[in-house]
Subunit: 458 residues, 2 copies
């Protein structure tokens, strides 16, 4: 038998607590602000989220117990394997050791179910019977439908119309799990009807879809409906830390040192935070480590956008969050990594970058697809377009290690497989894709809104 | 932590030998016959397959070593987990213990890569540089493209035109792994051109696609091209036995007895043989066990068709094989379990059924889709349409165990996930699917060809 590739943990080794980095981050974390510019209290979020999740959102406890029932659902696919990418290393001729955490093994094919099962659980515990959410490319809507099906909640997903039309399989996936999926804007909400009246042929946007999902939750008079978000918020980052906590155990199990480089793609920030935060704790405590969130060069939130107060959605229904933002009106170019086309970024991730704990990188999509194909044809698994960003960055690091003759340990998050997103590969192979550069004019125009918001802008 | 669901083996516990049931089957196995009605020798197959695979095809050795390099490729996703389906058991209120072997964890999403990596390896060892094959729904073409990409062989796939048009993602998947995929009939072969000249608008068939793939292999003058088949043949069954061998180890590991019932769907027979043959050895040696291959009621090869000599393809390019066959001209109804729409059946599986070692069952597709949805919403994984047949049979067994108050151990093969085949679920949920009954007239008409062939017909 040749070299061991996969490091498995047994089910009883699944971490029993999530790690809350708010307990350890240096500096003062800027709180969310209400419309009056003052910090909002937990009760302001009560119509939108159940109080047990709001408590997690504002918690500064370092460790938070994972409920038994959540562990039970997680164990459908967790612990996820940690894999040594021998074939990729060989193809690159690098002395670096490359490990990846394979989050594509979940039934929905990505890391998203890690928080979906937790959110569905806490909502059910709080007496909630119905969840609403939005989805762009469909990963999150699928994950939440999966989670609600296990617990017997209903799930209503507003899917950006252009994706709804282009990706019919995602809707079918949600329906197989009992979810309902509607193209947004829809006639189910006032927000949707208003947009349709003005722009009957609109392709929709994540901003509109969020407005619809929030409205559908807060206007339900039964009081048994809440809204659920798949990234950005603190409790979502918290639930995803199981990724990095497992990875640490797995590296320890094989006697491997802490990685020299930790890499994950970043859209709203949750798969990055999930892998990186448990390692960032070591960095805060003095370990030498490079931690790299990778974003599309066409949507350079962490690498170019200011750290500012901004809304999470176009319709300004969310509180103001302190985060890197390209402006809530930012219209991302049509790259295929739909999960990375977001104007903002998790406040915790933004804060960590501001404090110098992570060094973001932006990569164009052609380099990413090339990396994705090399990975497919060596390691055998076709990555999601989002995941190819982490792979491209890993390949850069591995090549640098080769030049420097260093045996670096690189760990990246294989956040999802690409079986539902093959159109991007098809276009890349046909030479139909190009890189998208954010022009200085567009940057100025979109970020202008930030000047209307309270400080900090840095 | 609640009840343990998944039983993992470590990579070093992957079985090191395949099990060849030809060494143990009772009765005389009828050999393949050539056009003259006489048994063919290995050399007759040499233009089509490399000699090392032909040797496996005719071997009666009980155990055959798995080469290091094949183990290395298998370890990308193997050992596959054995899973206890607690949530399904609970939903059914059954005293039965239900286990499933999860073969959907391979990069191509099914059990097919188990033989794809072995076949690609042996071809490469023999000096072959290019493989050709056909694919119906696309599972096999994807699996072989995956395997050839790992070894640097080229792969040319002839895909039945109607599937090629309806399932564009499958072609993209093959291409991401570097495979080439052509709609069949194509203008690349004489067989294809002949059909196109007569029927320019034909939707194609597996029979035509096989003819094209075989022709493309045998007419390549370089001598470096061979043909590869994803089911039916003895060496394919052999490679798949790793499924059952792993499952036996996993049951032993948790101190579970031999299953009372072993269930798998059967089209060409390979996922059934893969799980069942290692257990069938125990049955041959006296163990009490029910072994059930499950087929669609609309394509009842094992439950209704005679055991006869017939060709594997419409164009009669293959030798005559002794198997259950509905006649090589059988036109299967348009059910969504594309992998089960085959007129014939593995000769080894057919022989085992004839000897009373397995008791086949036929189930209609509406019952199967219902079973697939129950599984999706309890166990969380959406099954392939083929796999739903095994689940439906498992549910029947579990309900019977409830009636009888028996704590039966049921093991079934979760042969693949349904993420690339969601259209069937969509149609089922919309009420657009129906069951297809094979009429007595059609049965008579299709099986009439068998009377022209040599015995045995029983």
């Amino acid at each position: 038998m040749s070299k061991r590739k996969k490091i498995f943990l047994s089910e009883k080794e699944i971490p029993k607590q999530w790690y809350n980095i708010a307990a350890d981050l240096p500096g003062t974390i800027n709180p969310p602000l209400g419309p009056d510019g003052n910090p909002i209290g937990p009760e302001a979020l009560a119509p939108v989220f159940p109080m047990n999740l709001i408590e997690q959102e504002v918690s500064t406890e370092r460790w938070i117990d994972i409920p038994e029932k959540v562990l039970d659902m997680l164990s459908i696919w967790r612990p996820a394997p940690l894999v040594r990418a021998y074939a990729l290393e060989e193809a690159l001729g690098t002395p670096a050791k490359i490990y990846y955490k394979n989050e594509s093994v979940s039934p929905a094919g990505s890391h998203k179910p890690n928080t979906a099962v937790a959110q569905a659980y806490y909502n059910k515990e709080f007496g909630i019977k119905n969840l609403t959410t939005e989805t762009g490319a469909g990963q999150w809507g699928s994950a939440l439908s999966f989670a609600t099906s296990l617990l017997g909640l209903t799930c209503k997903v507003f899917m950006v119309r252009v994706s709804f039309d282009q990706k019919p399989y995602r809707k079918m996936m949600m329906e197989a799990w009992g979810g309902e999926c509607y193209p947004s804007p829809s006639d189910l909400t006032q927000a949707g009807r208003d947009v349709l009246a003005k722009y009957p042929d609109t392709p929709g946007s994540l901003g509109i879809a969020i407005s619809e999902a929030v409205e559908a939750a807060v206007t339900d008079e039964s009081g048994e409906t809440r809204y659920s978000l798949g990234s950005v918020l603190n409790h979502v980052m918290l639930h995803q830390t199981i990724i990095g906590l497992e990875a640490k155990k797995q590296l320890e199990l094989i006697g491997e040192k802490l990685p020299d480089v930790v890499i994950a793609c970043a859209g709203g920030g949750s798969n990055f935070a999930g892998l990186a935060f448990p390692f960032m704790r070591d960095k805060i405590n003095g370990a030498q480590m490079e931690i790299i969130p990778v974003e599309p060069a066409s949507c350079p939130t962490l690498t170019k956008a200011p750290f500012a107060y901004d809304h999470g959605d176009l319709a300004k229904m969310t509180p103001l969050l302190a985060m890197n933002s390209l402006g809530h009106g930012f219209i991302p170019p049509p790259i295929h990594a739909g999960g990375l086309r977001y104007h903002g970024m998790s406040p915790l991730v933004s804060h960590a970058v501001k404090e110098g704990l992570a060094t973001p990188e932006a990569i164009h999509q052609l380099e990413c697809y090339e990396a994705g194909l090399l990975f497919s044809r060596t390691e055998g698994i076709i990555p999601a377009p989002e995941t190819t960003h982490a792979i491209a960055s890993t390949i850069r690091q591995a090549k640098q290690a080769k030049e420097e003759g260093k045996e670096k340990v690189i760990l990246f998050n294989f956040s999802g497989h690409g079986l539902m997103d093959l159109v991007g590969y098809d276009k890349f192979l046909k030479g139909e894709l190009k890189n998208h550069e954010l022009s200085a004019e567009d940057y100025e125009e979109f970020t202008a809104v930030l000047k209307n918001h309270p400080s900090p802008i840095i």
